[in-house]
């Protein structure tokens, strides 16, 4: 019988309701509680579990004690298998990580967690891409793309996956500087990838075939970019799964989170910093290829350190190539792509319409805003 893992981060989302961005750190949590905040994670987890309840007999539910999952599971009518130990009321990121590792060891097919970007990072640190994971959204605005759109849909998707009716794809885990966030600055950096389920539609009565899967779309984009690459030009590849697909298509390595440079189908440098790039721009023509990273559609966040405002200024807008799968653009629900480089002048001239490469010989005109 399949095993489903459940981890609830009891403090996730604590700060949001009372206007505190993020909940990392005991101090913030104390302040939040003092302001009367009640953690939303358990409620959200319950909403997700509700969608799994009709199928309770089809899987074993593994969870951590008390407020880290057991309480919610029982409240929803499950009889979970409780593993591990915690000090109630004093749980930390270490507990989340331990829970994730132990559940992976128990062979859970899918790890469902209720939490925010911080919880996602903790789980990533613990298990990486070792097992499929799916987030039940509970915190403030999510930057990581590993969450279901709503708690109910996370529950539904988990059920589909357990019934082998969903595929798996990679989604970004983002590192958000919460201090900066409280100051109103978005410093989002790609942290890693988790494998999450994705669903296909229920009914098939179409007059036209569906869009290609995301993996195929990335392959198509990579083929287009590779074909259009000019000799003698340095191509700076930003982080992301789509840019990684480009490197992969050329048979080249790509650092997971960093910025790499290729020229004439060979690696020039891996994981470069700003200084290195500025040097490079002296040597000859260059273009940068970026893809939106995270759930909010940021093209250039302040986290994109190597591709700094100075680098962008030198490149000029015409040398910025944006690649993205159509699915990523659709997920924005009509919102524009965003830039927040830290330099408002640069932000301004980055804004406008871009010819986003969305497939082989396919472009989508999409708006970038700041």
């Amino acid at each position: 019988m399949k095993r489903l893992g459940l981890i609830v981060n009891p403090v996730a989302g604590l700060g949001g309701r009372v206007g505190l961005k993020g909940s990392d750190g005991e101090k913030v949590q104390q302040r939040a509680r003092a302001l009367g905040a009640v953690a939303p994670a358990p409620t959200r987890a319950a909403q997700a579990l509700e969608r799994l309840r009709p199928a309770a007999g089809e899987f074993e539910l593994f969870t951590y004690p008390m407020e880290m999952g057991e309480a919610v599971a029982r409240a929803c009518g499950f009889e979970p298998i409780v593993i591990g130990e915690i000090a109630s009321g004093k749980t930390t990121a270490a507990d989340t990580q331990r829970a994730a590792r132990e559940m992976m060891a128990q062979g859970v097919a899918l790890l469902l967690f209720a939490g925010g970007d911080g919880t996602a990072r903790d789980i990533y640190d613990a298990v990486g891409e070792g097992l499929p994971v799916l987030g039940i959204p509970t915190g403030v605005k999510m930057h990581s793309a590993v969450f279901g759109t709503r708690p109910e849909s996370a529950g539904e998707l988990a059920l589909l996956f357990l019934r082998e009716k969903a595929g798996l794809r990679e989604a970004e885990v983002m590192d958000i500087d919460e201090e900066a966030l409280r100051r109103g600055e978005v410093r989002a950096r790609l942290y890693g990838y988790l494998r999450i389920p994705f669903e296909r539609p229920l009914v098939q009565g179409l007059k036209a075939p569906s869009s290609p899967g995301e993996r195929e779309a990335m392959r198509a984009i990579a083929a287009d970019v590779a074909e259009e690459m000019e000799g003698g030009v340095a191509y700076i590849l930003g982080p992301g799964t789509t840019t990684r697909a480009i490197a992969s298509h050329l048979g080249l390595p790509k650092t997971l989170l960093g910025v790499d440079v290729i020229r004439d189908r060979e690696v020039v440098a891996l994981d470069v910093n700003e200084a290195h790039l500025l040097c490079l721009l002296e040597e000859g023509p260059a273009r940068v290829i970026v893809t939106p990273v995270g759930g909010q559609g940021y093209l250039f966040g302040r986290g994109n350190q190597p591709i700094s405002p100075a680098v962008l200024r030198r490149l000029g807008r015409e040398n910025i190539l944006v690649v993205s799968t159509a699915q990523k653009l659709q997920a924005l629900g009509g919102r524009p792509l965003l830039v927040d480089t830290g330099d408002s002048e640069v932000d301004l001239w980055l804004c406008g319409y871009y010819r986003v490469i969305t497939g082989y010989r396919e472009r989508t005109i999409y708006r970038v805003s700041c």
Binding site: Q204, K207, S210, A223, Y360, R361
Partner: protein
Amino acid sequence: MRKKPVVYPYIPNSVPEVKEQMLRELGAESMEEFYADIPEALRLKRPLDLPPPLLSEYDLRRHVEGLLQKNRTCQEYLNFLGAGCYQHYVPAVCDEVNARGEFLTAYAGEPYDDHGRFQALFEYTSMMGELLRMDVVNVPTYDGYQAAATALSMAARITRRREIVLPRALSPDKLSKIRDYVKPDLEIALIGYDPETGELDREALRARLSERTAAVYFENPSYFGVVEGHGGEIAAMAHECGALCVVSTDPISLGILTPPADYGADIVCGDIQSLGIHMQYGGGHGGFIATRDEERFVMEYPSRLFGIAPTMVPGEYGFGDVAYERTSFARREEGKEWVGTAAALWGITAGVYLALMGPQGMMKVGETIMARACYAARMLDRLPGVRAPVFRSAHFREFVVDFSGTGKTVSEINQGLLARGIFGGKDLSREFPELGQSALYCVTEVHTQGDILRLVEALKEVLQA
């Protein structure tokens, strides 16, 4: 005096009181509000200048039937035309089934509310699968031309090569369609035919094949009605150089002819018009494409593929689209064309035809067609100055008749036949000048011995004149 508004039988809410009531419920003064988004400059400021309406059904019918009366049909005239559109017998049951309102007016509902449509089309593809001895058959595309063009595009995508080899013995119309369709991506090489047998010139083919060849395409029976006897060799030659073998055939011949898959064809295509569909002045075509059940083929179909599936209730059949998410393409040549409304009702009709005919019917009709065509050729050959069939091969349904020895042109001859109530075979003299004053004659199971002898007599008169 205000003209009384017309209440249209096809428009229930054209009753003025109802229209007004609906406008009121919508809080609208007039229909103008609904077109507010359309700028003044784009609005037509006058009524359309069209013929006055024929509001009563009787008047409409009289008008259209009056126009149609000017036509002379192939029931009134004796018809020997083929060349891609064929006069075969259409069983009454075929017309009954495709006149059923449910089938006639259904479209794209789910495999629940439209289960019958899915099953009927699955049964069509299944029966075609048996005729063709192949496991994958598409829901029909527009016609045999499209089927050939798509089959060739599929072959190019699968092999990732850019050259397709076609026979010169091909309908110029079909070649025109293929040329237009593959223009962005593929190059076409044409291979001649053996002047004696009409079969594909295998030596010329051998010389032309290379590692650039994506597909070798031929038709069996050919445009000239010749049964290609060396299909196996041709397929083998294609495979040797890494190309695919694409064969176009007419399913009505497959009761007696070996299905192309059995001699090495990888993709088989053609038109289903012969299977229970009236000629309709060229309005009754549907195209089929069939392959083996291998992923690399299946993923290349732009058409819908209906597969069978279980439902929640044991023993119940359900259907749905196979390989729902076609792979995207990473090269222009891999683009999966498109899917749209095509010829489903004709697919269902062809299924009904095959169900009625069964194996014995298909064998019999094939034999009858071959026998009558052969007989007709022999009778024509006995006319002075006439040579038939031009090619020394077995023929199915069609054959080339050479009138060069008569001193008359096909055009003159056909005019003479027309005056005697006969449509003579298609004039090939412009399309294939090397054949001289030749015509393509078509004889099917609808031509009795009497019909054939009538043709012979008429020709005798015409040639003597």
